[in-house]
């Protein structure tokens, strides 16, 4: 399949719950193999978007295509390609893990003869193989969360739609799940996931979409988001010895501001348009010529939290 094909095309869709406009003319598209991180505060409209994508809710206006199939009209065809983990996972409690996964695997169209080995493979990855015959009612919340991800992966879907897949998982499981998702993406699986854990979004997403009050505030790669956020680049300098002539660095072309965090730790704001490598070289030379000793010098990158809050504020999310 051509990598430029839109696996998901979500265009101008709105959703209203009574007086509340949960989604306001939302549009985005996801290409094959992308990991699309959908972030926003509680009540932003993340789950509503996901439920419309999988056909559990109907949006108003616009159009939605999954793998070329129009939703919700062709949802039975589209569902063959979708693996979905809901935020709130409900299973038949009287079944055991194996029974539950077998049912979902077969319903998703997976080969009956291969289902047992596929279940074992996934249970091993998620450290649940020893609980295979345990009843769902006896499982912990974290185990249920893992099963939610496993049932979505069973039939090897080409599009994974995951609503808060990592919340509730222990650190080891989070690591394993993220690793697995990255591997799947490298093999061509398209992944859409919502989260409010920004570090997860930073680790996983190749494209990030920030949503608030049902509106999309920004879509782009992390670098694109950073570029818009930072008007100035920053360089952090740590000194082991500071001389009286330290102030000479303010004369370097391209340095806009000097922020002294402590006598030894200094943040330099530099013009975005200038070549930061050249400026760093000039800083090193100037400091050494002026009897300062450098412990470390490195460009400072804004954290994803800072970027996220910047877009929320700009979009009117924080009053």
């Amino acid at each position: 399949m051509n990598e430029n094909i839109d696996i998901v095309r979500f265009q101008n869709i709105s959703k209203r719950y009574g007086q509340l406009l949960a989604l306001n003319n939302v549009s985005f598209s996801i290409k094959k193999g992308e990991i699309f991180g959908y972030v926003g505060p509680n009540g932003a409209g993340k789950t509503t978007t996901i439920k419309i994508m999988v056909g559990l809710l109907r949006g108003s206006g616009g159009s939605l295509f999954i793998n070329g199939y129009k939703m919700p009209e062709q949802k039975e065809l589209a569902h063959r390609f979708i693996g979905y983990t809901p935020q709130q996972i409900g299973f038949h409690k009287w079944k055991n893990i194996k029974q539950m996964l077998t049912t979902f695997g077969i319903l998703s169209g997976f080969d009956k003869n291969l289902i047992d080995s596929r279940i074992d493979e996934l249970l091993t990855i998620f450290n649940l193989i020893n609980f295979k015959n345990m009843k769902i009612s006896k499982l912990s919340g974290g185990m249920i969360q893992k099963l939610g991800v496993i049932q979505a992966l069973l039939h090897k879907p080409s599009l994974l739609i995951l609503d808060e897949p990592l919340s509730g998982l222990d650190p080891e499981s989070r690591f394993q799940t993220k690793k697995l998702l990255k591997e799947l993406s490298e093999n061509g699986t398209t992944i859409f996931f919502s989260s409010h854990i920004l570090s997860d979004v930073q680790d996983l997403a190749t494209k990030i979409c920030i949503l608030d009050w049902g509106r999309i505030l920004k879509i782009g790669s992390l670098d694109e988001l950073k570029n818009e956020f930072t008007q100035e680049n920053q360089i952090e300098v740590n000194l082991s010895k500071r001389s009286e002539k330290f102030g000479e660095i303010s004369k370097i072309d391209g340095i806009l501001r000097i922020i002294e965090k402590s006598p030894e730790k200094i943040i330099l704001n530099i013009e975005k348009a200038k070549n930061s490598d050249e400026i760093i070289n000039n800083i090193i030379t100037t400091l050494l010529e002026n009897d300062c000793k450098i412990r470390s010098i490195s460009p400072v990158s804004p954290s994803i939290d800072e970027i996220y809050q910047f877009y929320l504020r700009r979009g009117g999310g924080f009053q």
């Binding site: 809710l57 077969i106 319903l107």
Partner: protein, 221 residues
């Protein structure tokens, strides 16, 4: 091809549920109790009819309440979400739920009636042929009432927002709905009453299930 799997799944869940265990054990015990304790003065056929009537009342009430509560519970706990995002038809979920309860409870009722017949046979072996002839009408009544009460429970399960509301509706209205076709068939006196009971029950159940499927198809989760 998914429907048999979903039905088998539901049957597996229902036949060993607490309510069904109560029915598997309770209905035969009640049948034995009625046959032993009630004097058979009115005749074997009347006793059989009385047994069927009492057992069906209990079983239909429990089956409709069980269906309504189960469907509402599965809506509340998001169980349907993982089925509805798979390539299956929504009606399959509703019909398999209805059929699994209908089949399980009907089997429990038939076992109980057979136990009653066996007791009658032991007590009055010379009336066995008469007993077999008499069993037709209670059996048709069982199937008819069960059909409607199960369909009504399914509809209330789909419509009701909470288990409490659903069960209250089933208890206070379901009983009357279940007996309407039976009563009408005997009152109107058109053709064979038993055939009329069967026909009206099938039509009523089909309408109730049709509405349930229509609502479920349009439901957003």
């Amino acid at each position: 091809m998914n429907f048999p799997l979903i039905l088998k799944d539901e049957l597996n869940g229902f036949y060993k549920s607490w309510v069904m265990i109560f029915l598997w054990v309770g209905l035969p015990v009640l049948a034995i109790f009625i046959h032993i304790s009630v004097p058979n003065q009115a005749g074997v056929d009347s006793l059989l009819f009385l047994t069927a009537l009492i057992l069906t009342s209990i079983a239909s009430l429990l089956s409709s309440a069980m269906l309504a509560a189960n469907i509402i519970n599965e809506k509340d706990t998001h169980v349907y979400n993982l089925f509805l995002i798979r390539p299956i038809k929504r009606w399959q979920l509703i019909i398999s739920k209805f059929l699994s309860v209908y089949i399980c409870v009907s089997i429990a009722l038939i076992i109980s009636i057979l136990i009653g017949i066996t007791i009658d046979y032991i007590e009055t072996p010379y009336l066995f042929e008469f007993i077999l002839e008499s069993v037709k009408s209670p059996l048709i009544m069982i199937f008819a009432i069960m059909l409607i009460s199960s369909a009504f429970g399914t509809l209330i399960g789909v419509l009701s927002p909470s288990i409490v509301v659903g069960v209250i509706i089933v208890i206070f209205i379901g009983q009357y709905v279940s007996y309407i076709p039976t009563a009408l068939s005997f009152l109107l006196n058109i053709g064979d009453p038993l055939v009329m009971v069967l026909v009206t029950s099938f039509i009523t159940a089909a309408v109730l299930l049709g509405i349930a499927i229509l609502v479920f198809n349009r439901k957003q989760f």
